[in-house]
Amino acid sequence: GSKNAEGSDQETKTEDGKQIVTFWHAMSGASQEALDRIVASYNESQDEVEVRAEFQGTYDEALTKFHSVAGTDSAPTMIQVFEIGTMSMVNSGHIDPIQKFIDEDGYDMGHLEENIVNYYKIDNQFYSMPFNSSTPVMFFNKDAFEEAGLDPESPPQTYEEVEEASKAIVESNPDMKGFALQAYGWLFEQLLASQGALLLNENNGRSGTATEIGFTEEQGKSIFEWVERMNEDGTFANYGINGDNMLAGFLAEDVSMFLQSSANSRDLIDNAPFEVGVAFLPHPENTEWEGVVIGGASLWMSAGKEEAEQNAAWDFMKYLQSPEIQAQWHTDTGYFAINPAAYEEDLVVEMHEENPQLKVTVEQLQATKPSYATQGALMDMIPEERKIIEIALETVFNGEDVDKAYSAAMEQLNRAIETANKARGE
């Protein structure tokens, strides 16, 4: 940019008459590079529209900022919002659901990945366009498995198997822990979904406004108790809330298994001095594996913008769905291709051949059984829920009483839901 770009909020056309679309996003690092490439290719592909992709900080920061400028000239044409911001966007009243454009355009969303689309479909209509999506998987150290006499090709699938494998690992190498779970609310939600539990009542808030938590004590506690058991075995590695430390610990061969977003697969495989395995999310032995909930972000359309501007943005959103673009996006970043056709693209096929582990992430998503549990919860207090869960997890990680931690957390969760409902004036 240059200094004469000041006040760009006001202008909607470039000097040579192109329609400007302001696109706020929260992509940084490698994903920003990938996104910028896509935007550039779009801008080159036609001469009507110029998309300007502007970084606005983390998801939190970008969302807060959007809320503050929504409805003014400074608001962008479109914005990327993380999945748990969905409800607050819907409630904000400053967005136009993209269903409007789908209907006007007669666009077919059917070619998109079902399990991704499921999340963003609310009351049977699309509010936002899915964009970057990921799910958690279990990463493990194949070399360490081999050394411990475990089969690297059949990784553990249940909590109990994870425990057993961990014991074997620690036995063969006292310097390495078996398993690590980041104190991260998102992972807790995923572990609930994988055993088919609901986070919130009212079918995860999708049949009505949730009024309390949706999982049973057994379901909820299963995760806590799992950790507690491993802790007692001395096979659990505690990295607290810190994902970066956990990654480093895994790469430094301090721990052999951990759960993390599939978006990390590429980097882990590339950087690890050992062979990395990827596996489905585990579930308690006595439950059925149901699948995972989609994470990541989607694209929203600002209300109150000129039609031409919105249509231009809509055109860009459509552009993003094309198999070539999705293939590129998938290979560059590790996020899913929301359009499964992309997996047929040479680029992707090549990559999957090279690193067959990468396929596991896609397989897991596609194996997910559509249900309220795997559709994911909708509510505007989910960020708060995550913090509460994280504190409870930390408490358990540090070897404190599960029952106390659990009941305290549940109490806080229900109060948070209550407050959130009250704040909406409902």
Binding site: G1, S2, K3, A5, E6, G7, S8, D9, T22, W24, A26, M27, S28, G29, A30, S31, Q32, E33, R52, E54, F55, Q56, G57, T58, Y59, E61, T64, K65, S68, V69, T72, S74, P76, S134, D244, L247, A248, L251, A252, E253, S261, A263, N264, D267, L268, N271, P273, G296, T333, G334
Partner: protein, 271 residues
């Protein structure tokens, strides 16, 4: 007076040890900025040093553009703060008027308003003034500074009152006295405050992020932040090289600033 040799040795020893301890984290970052991400993540000793991280950091963003914006913004803020703080401190020390103490405490009280609590209303203010994506929006809100006023007040209070008296006798007005006596005599703390103001502005992240929507006036910390990923593994080597690049101008400033801190300015004021 010469310093005896024994004391010199002890002092140098203390200085070096302290410097090593203080500088270790930074030194570590510098080392990391030359390492490959794999070496960093696996916690192994660097297998190779390369400038690759720097190359990529420069390639990914127009860091220079951010640096120039940051320089501009930081200098403007620094000047604004120096002017406003010294004016206010002057009033608090040298002028006697009703309500002075009350105002001073009010000023001090502003330091206690958590930044996090005022950021959203301030953002609204900027928005309504049309200052988003403007240098004004990035700088003006920081001009008034209770901290700086307080620092300078403490310093101005140590200016011998004889100097003020002599100026009054000489028929010097307030403004002239402020310009020709107070500011030069308080040079040390003005430099300190200037360095501080510059560096805090230089290191600001949240506000510039909020107050801008595009790259036109954005500052370097935002650029730095864009080197970090949210959901993916970070390229620490590159992030560190970015951090090192951004630190260099500030270290230079610190070096120059401390050279300007000269001894004994108030000396000779008294008999």
């Amino acid at each position: 007076m010469r310093i005896p040799l024994g004391r010199k040795i002890v002092t140098y020893f203390l200085l070096s040890t302290a410097a090593l301890l203080v500088f270790m984290p930074t030194l570590m970052a510098v080392v990391m900025s030359f390492m490959t991400n794999q070496d960093i993540m696996t916690g192994s000793f660097p297998s190779a040093f390369s400038l690759d991280n720097y190359r990529r950091a420069f390639e990914q963003f127009s860091l220079m553009h951010y640096v120039i914006n940051s320089l501009f913004v930081s200098i403007i803020i620094m000047i604004g703060q120096l002017v406003l703080s010294s004016l206010a401190a002057y009033a608090f020390v040298f002028l006697e008027f009703k309500g002075r103490d009350f105002l001073f405490y009010l000023f001090i009280a502003t330091m206690m308003v958590p930044f996090e609590a005022s950021i959203i209303p301030n953002f609204h203010t900027i928005r309504d003034l049309g200052w988003i994506d403007q240098y004004t929006g990035l700088t003006v809100p920081f001009f008034a500074m209770a901290f700086g006023t307080f620092l300078l007040r403490q310093n101005f209070k140590q200016i011998p009152k004889e100097l003020r008296e002599a100026s009054q006798i000489a028929g010097m007005g307030e403004v002239k006295f402020y310009l020709t006596v107070v500011l030069p005599v308080a040079k040390t703390s003005l430099i300190t405050l200037g360095v501080y103001g510059f560096l805090t502005s230089w290191n600001m992240y949240l506000w510039p992020l909020l107050a801008t929507t595009n790259d036109s006036v954005r500052t370097v910390q935002i650029g730095l932040r864009q080197l970090q990923s949210q959901e993916q593994m970070n390229d620490w080597g590159m992030i560190m090289s970015g951090a090192v690049i951004v630190i260099i101008p500030t270290l230079i400033l610190l070096f120059l600033g401390q050279k300007k801190l000269q001894r004994g300015l108030t000396e000779g004021a008294l008999k």
